[in-house]
């Protein structure tokens, strides 16, 4: 056992990176669910972003344009979901699952010729002196720009939901769509926009994997990250900063178990890896049972809306 070789600053740095893709996807899904829509197709949209982002980046030579392409790719797939669930009133659970199946297949086809290629490199952000600060410098200031933009996005979503008028409308739509409709808000328009935002974020999360974290394209490479993002939204009880805390916790559990293994500690990996889900269920029970009614799931989640007037 060589526990001394685990450096907490490095641990922190690693978990920030490990958390970024699932946090991106989760923050998008959080907005979707806040508008009262449950899109279980996160995994499908993520892999779409991973694939399209990779293809665009390779062909343009620019990781930045790749990320834009990834957002558009995820958004395109989410529009299909929006069309089905909002215009054609299909069931959200079934449509989301079909979306994942479709996305996994489509990307495997699209990406066929891109296996075994290296994408253009995303430069690390040079924060100069900041990264020389002892401990904090290594932990916080040695990342690529997407890590920071993701945190900024979490802040923006938090502000949007809490303080902006549009955010207020979105929450109203998600809490009670009939009442929101009666007040003259366009329930479907709001939801379609939220779904598109969710798709774009999931796409970015996927591209973070294929362009920065791994970086390569292989079919099925998201390996369930989209499902973790779904759990994360619940864990966060639909609050952006908690989603970030949750993502860091998830990332932290992974990184910690890797570190303990590398240090020669025998740990039951299979059991440890189920702990985040059990914790999430516990959190869910606590928020739904007790005082915090406001923390509970959006009132209209997964309920179809059709204006009957």
């Amino acid at each position: 056992m060589i526990l001394g070789s685990i450096n907490p600053a490095v641990l922190l740095a690693a978990l920030m990176v490990a958390a970024t893709p699932i946090l991106l996807a989760a923050i998008g899904e959080l907005v979707v669910e806040k508008s009262g829509v449950l899109n279980l197709g996160v995994e499908g949209m993520m892999i779409m972003g991973a694939c399209v982002g990779f293809i665009v980046a390779v062909n343009t030579g620019s990781p930045f344009i790749g990320f834009v392409g990834a957002a558009l790719g995820g958004m395109a797939l989410s529009l299909l979901f929006a069309l089905l669930t909002q215009a054609l009133m299909t069931n959200q659970v079934a449509s989301g699952l079909a979306l994942t199946l479709f996305g996994l297949g489509l990307t495997a086809l699209l990406g066929q010729r891109y296996v075994g290629i290296t994408p253009p490199r995303t430069p690390k952000l040079d924060l100069g002196l900041l990264s020389d600060i002892p401990f904090l410098g290594r932990a916080l200031f040695t990342h690529d720009i997407v890590v920071y933009l993701t945190i900024a996005l979490v802040g923006a979503v938090w502000w949007f939901l809490k303080y902006s008028r549009a955010g207020m409308i979105l929450r109203a739509v998600g809490e009670n769509h009939d009442a929101a409709h009666a007040l003259g808000y366009h329930v479907k328009r709001v939801r379609v926009l939220a779904i598109m935002f969710g798709g774009a974020c999931a796409g970015l999360g996927g591209a973070y994997l294929s362009l920065i974290r791994v970086p390569q394209w292989t079919e099925g490479m998201t390996v369930g990250a989209g499902w973790i993002a779904l759990a994360l939204v619940v864990f966060a009880s639909w609050r952006p900063w908690r989603a970030m805390a949750g993502a860091y916790l998830f990332g932290g559990v992974v990184v910690l178990q890797l570190n303990l293994q590398a240090a020669g500690v025998r740990i039951p990996v299979e059991y440890l890896s189920m702990s985040p889900y059990l914790i999430t269920i516990l959190v869910l029970v606590i928020i739904s049972s007790g005082k915090g009614r406001s923390l509970n799931a959006p009132g209209s989640l997964n309920k179809p809306f059709h204006a009957s007037s």
């Binding site: 054609l88 297949g105 990307t107 299979e270 029970v285």
Partner: protein, 361 residues
């Protein structure tokens, strides 16, 4: 401007016509995709939809296989549909399927290698119980703490998957094959083997169970008071409550039934076609069954047809890979299209398209 108008009565005509239209549209869109991949679209579609049932070479084998592939989907979907009708959202059937398989296999492995007629019935009970137990977690959390059952049942899938991996690598690992993950092959343990009842018909106990479940669900939903309560709770929850239907009781019943059926499906699979507890044992039947339930419009007979249709695309998909060198991914996309069209066209059953002049508020 185009808008949808809710029909007063669901359209019977569209209900029947939609699936055919959806299949036709999928053939068209899929055919275009196959052609773009440089494959003959007519051959591909013939291989997917017709050859498994009609081809001289394959049909005598593929037809029974259709039952084997579709039975677990139908068994799970029938249970789920009952809950969906009552607005009880169990989307964790995959987890219940795994737990059913683990409980069933656990009984078999505990008795190994003893013979005995009672072992298989015990496994059936254990399988149903395993699924039931796993479904009771979201049920009780829902009734006691008002915790969202969609999310809890989904999260429990991840937990079940990890328990499965732990079992395959640890407790249930075959002691005679040291080193390799995976349990003993239950197909080689006669007392536990869920074999074909009549050779080359594909009929195993899981198929029988699926048929019984379909009939049971049909009778319950159309003839029995409980079925009426379930429908009422789904369509008019307030009226149901005033009518003395206990929501908590319904949650327990719906999750209990769907969990037990999913558990049964897992148990019949692990003791028959699947053969052993493996890390990769769960291949998504529980999630696919959700789609099957909706494709079947939550109706037992519809679910049978939907399950068979999806099973057909799996088997035909394999054939078209083998005979035409279509990439596996193209089959997945094709299935995705089929699901989208089937789901999308259903709106015509409940809504009609109206062209109106001008916008409305």
């Amino acid at each position: 401007m185009i808008r949808l108008e809710k029909r007063k009565e669901p359209s019977k005509l569209w209900r029947i016509a939609n699936p055919f239209l959806a299949v036709a549209l999928t053939m068209l869109a899929g055919g275009i995709m196959f052609a773009m991949l440089g494959k003959d679209p007519f051959v591909a579609i013939r291989l997917i939809f017709f050859d498994p049932i009609f081809s001289e070479t394959f049909a005598s084998y593929s037809r029974p296989q259709l039952l084997i592939k579709s039975a677990p989907l139908i068994l799970i979907a029938v249970g789920l549909a009952i809950g969906f009708k009552a607005n009880v959202w169990n989307i964790g059937a995959e987890g219940q399927y795994i737990m059913g398989a683990l409980f069933g296999a656990g009984v078999a492995l505990a008795f190994f290698p003893a013979p005995g007629w009672y072992i298989f019935p015990l496994m059936v009970l254990a399988g149903a119980f395993g699924g039931f137990l796993w479904a009771m977690i979201p049920a009780i959390l829902k009734t006691r703490f008002n915790t969202n059952e969609i999310l809890v049942s989904l999260l429990l899938v991840y937990v079940a998957e990890r328990i499965l991996a732990a079992m395959a690598l640890g407790l249930m690992r075959n002691p005679d094959q040291p080193g390799f993950p995976g349990s003993r092959d239950l197909r080689r343990y006669e007392a536990a083997y869920n074999s074909e009842l009549i050779a080359n018909t594909g009929m195993h106990w899981g198929v029988v169970a699926a048929i019984i479940a379909v009939i049971f669900a049909y009778v319950m939903m159309t003839r029995h008071m409980l079925g009426f309560h379930i429908q009422l709770a789904g369509q008019a929850p307030r009226a149901a409550r005033f009518g003395g239907v206990s929501p908590a009781r319904l949650v327990i019943i719906c999750l209990g039934i769907s969990g037990a059926l999913a558990g049964l499906a897992g148990m019949f699979e692990v003791s028959g076609p699947g053969g052993q507890v493996r890390i990769e044992f769960a291949s998504g039947y529980g999630f696919t069954a959700i789609i099957v339930a909706f494709l079947g419009r939550l109706h037992p007979i519809g679910i049978v047809l939907a399950g068979l249709l999806l099973g057909l695309t799996y088997i035909g998909g394999e054939l078209s890979q083998m005979m035409l060198q279509l990439p596996g991914a193209a089959i997945q996309v094709f299935q995705g299209m089929l699901l989208f069209f089937l789901l999308a066209l259903d709106f015509q059953t409940n809504y009609r398209i109206r062209l109106t002049q001008g916008a409305h508020a």
